[in-house]
Amino acid sequence: MSRALVAIRGVSQRFGTDGAGVAALDGIDLEIPDGQFAAVVGPSGCGKSTLLSLVAGLRQPSRGTVLCDGEPITAPMPRKVGMIFQEANLLPWLSALENVAFPLKLRRVAKAERLPAARRMLALTGLSGFEDRLPHQLSGGMKQRVAIARGLVQDPAVLLMDEPFASLDEQTRMVLGDELLRIWSETRKTVLFVTHSLNEAVYLADRVIVLSARPGRIVDDVAVDLPRPRTFTMSAGERFGALKDRIWQHIKHAERP
């Protein structure tokens, strides 16, 4: 828990040609140590997802650099970084097992090797017995578990999660949150978790990074000093409320419904 596994240095992002377009991020400096669970919150449209797509290597920043393990990210680095999206985005023609194995298939790992690996990941995410189901035969929560298993199958050091539970109902979200914490404590990944939900951010993370309205700047960096393992009763506690309130003070002025 010392070395910065993900380092974002002086990153700005503009969309559109010749800097004439919209500024999404402005001067972001951020270091995430190895093994940390960091949540990113901020008002709608503040560039949270853009930040993740930069770390995923899906786009290049207009200015600044993004480093993973000391190496500049110029393209997706699937062996180091696993990405989980708001929608499960499973390939509908592949079974749950084949979906989890898909990143390995892209790397031409032999079937005899990739399918057992995928099976282990499905077991880790609690989906043993559902290997042969097609995505449309799974519930929303199960699909997202498959997506998490797919994100973990290459054993990446970093897990990027872009509002992964936002399209699930509240109960499923809570169950999956606890599952995620269990998986995280077993695998000790570095997690960068974008969310709309302050509850979710404080409940899951070691640290909550608060972005301002567009263009996104870091306005606060809150260390969540709640003990682990986290429990549901903590979320009714005073400390939990105080942390949430501190974050909310930054966001409420920016949200104009």
Partner: protein
């Protein structure tokens, strides 16, 4: 269909044929216009044994197959191009949509002028009639590929070739096959129309001449053969389509 539904359909069809047979035998319908099914069946057996009829079927099958094999890759390829190259799409899609809606049969005299009454003319007209279905199908197939699956694959390090093979191809397969099947229906219609309109051989040519000579049993027997062949091709394509498209949520 469930089992009892199949039984009902079979029974209804049989009843219809029995009614037709009865009406024809009783002289209540004109047998020179609607010969009894038993007469048609006898004609069918006779036709199936005549080499020149089989040769005509072969000519038609060759024209249909050639037109299909030319039109399918060409049409789908053009469709992909129009979908993937925005400038070309903007330029040509209005024209394609316009021609898609125009009845192609009005162009048949032009094809006779250009190619003469010949087998290439049948094939060319088949291609011309079919290709618009396939262009439009090709465009629809490309547009049916979910962009978020491409993003996911890119995040997991997929190359362009891998995205084409692992995402585009399986995502488009059901619509591609559906377009091919629809195209085939248009194609068969076009080739038969050509043959009936003017030809030296082919089953359409035979149908036209039997019709002119009021040889109704032969005419109906030929219709049965053509219908059976068309349904067989259609169902074969549909079987492949539903196998490759089983992941779609219509189960």
């Amino acid at each position: 269909m469930r089992r009892h539904e199949r039984l009902i359909v079979a029974a209804a069809s049989l009843a219809l044929f029995a009614l037709w047979e009865g009406l024809a035998r009783l002289g209540l319908v004109d047998p020179s216009l609607a010969p009894a099914p038993s007469v048609v069946a006898a004609a069918l057996v006779r036709l199936a044994g005549r080499p020149e009829v089989l040769a005509s079927l072969g000519v038609t099958a060759w024209e249909v197959a050639a037109a299909f094999l030319l039109a399918t890759p060409l049409g789908l390829g053009l469709g992909f191009l129009l979908a993937e190259v925005p400038a070309l799409g903007a330029l040509f899609r209005p024209l394609v949509n316009f021609l898609f809606g125009v009845p192609k049969s009005i162009f048949l005299p032009v094809f006779i002028l250009v190619f003469g009454v010949s087998i290439p003319q049948k094939i060319a007209f088949g291609v011309f009639t079919t290709i618009f279905v396939l262009i439009v199908g090709g465009i629809a197939a490309v547009q049916s590929v979910p962009p978020e699956l491409i993003t996911v694959s890119r995040a997991y390090g997929a190359s362009r070739a891998q995205i084409a093979r692992e995402i585009y191809l399986p995502a488009m397969a059901p619509i591609l096959l559906e377009s091919a099947r629809l195209g085939m229906v248009f194609n068969i219609t076009a080739v038969l129309l050509c043959e009936i309109y003017g030809a030296r051989d082919g089953i359409g040519y035979r149908i036209a001449s039997w019709g002119e000579n009021l040889q109704m049993p032969q005419l109906y027997a030929a219709l049965v053969i053509v219908a059976a062949a068309a349904v067989a091709v259609n169902e074969a394509l549909r079987a492949v389509e539903s196998r490759l498209g089983a992941w779609r949520e219509r189960a």
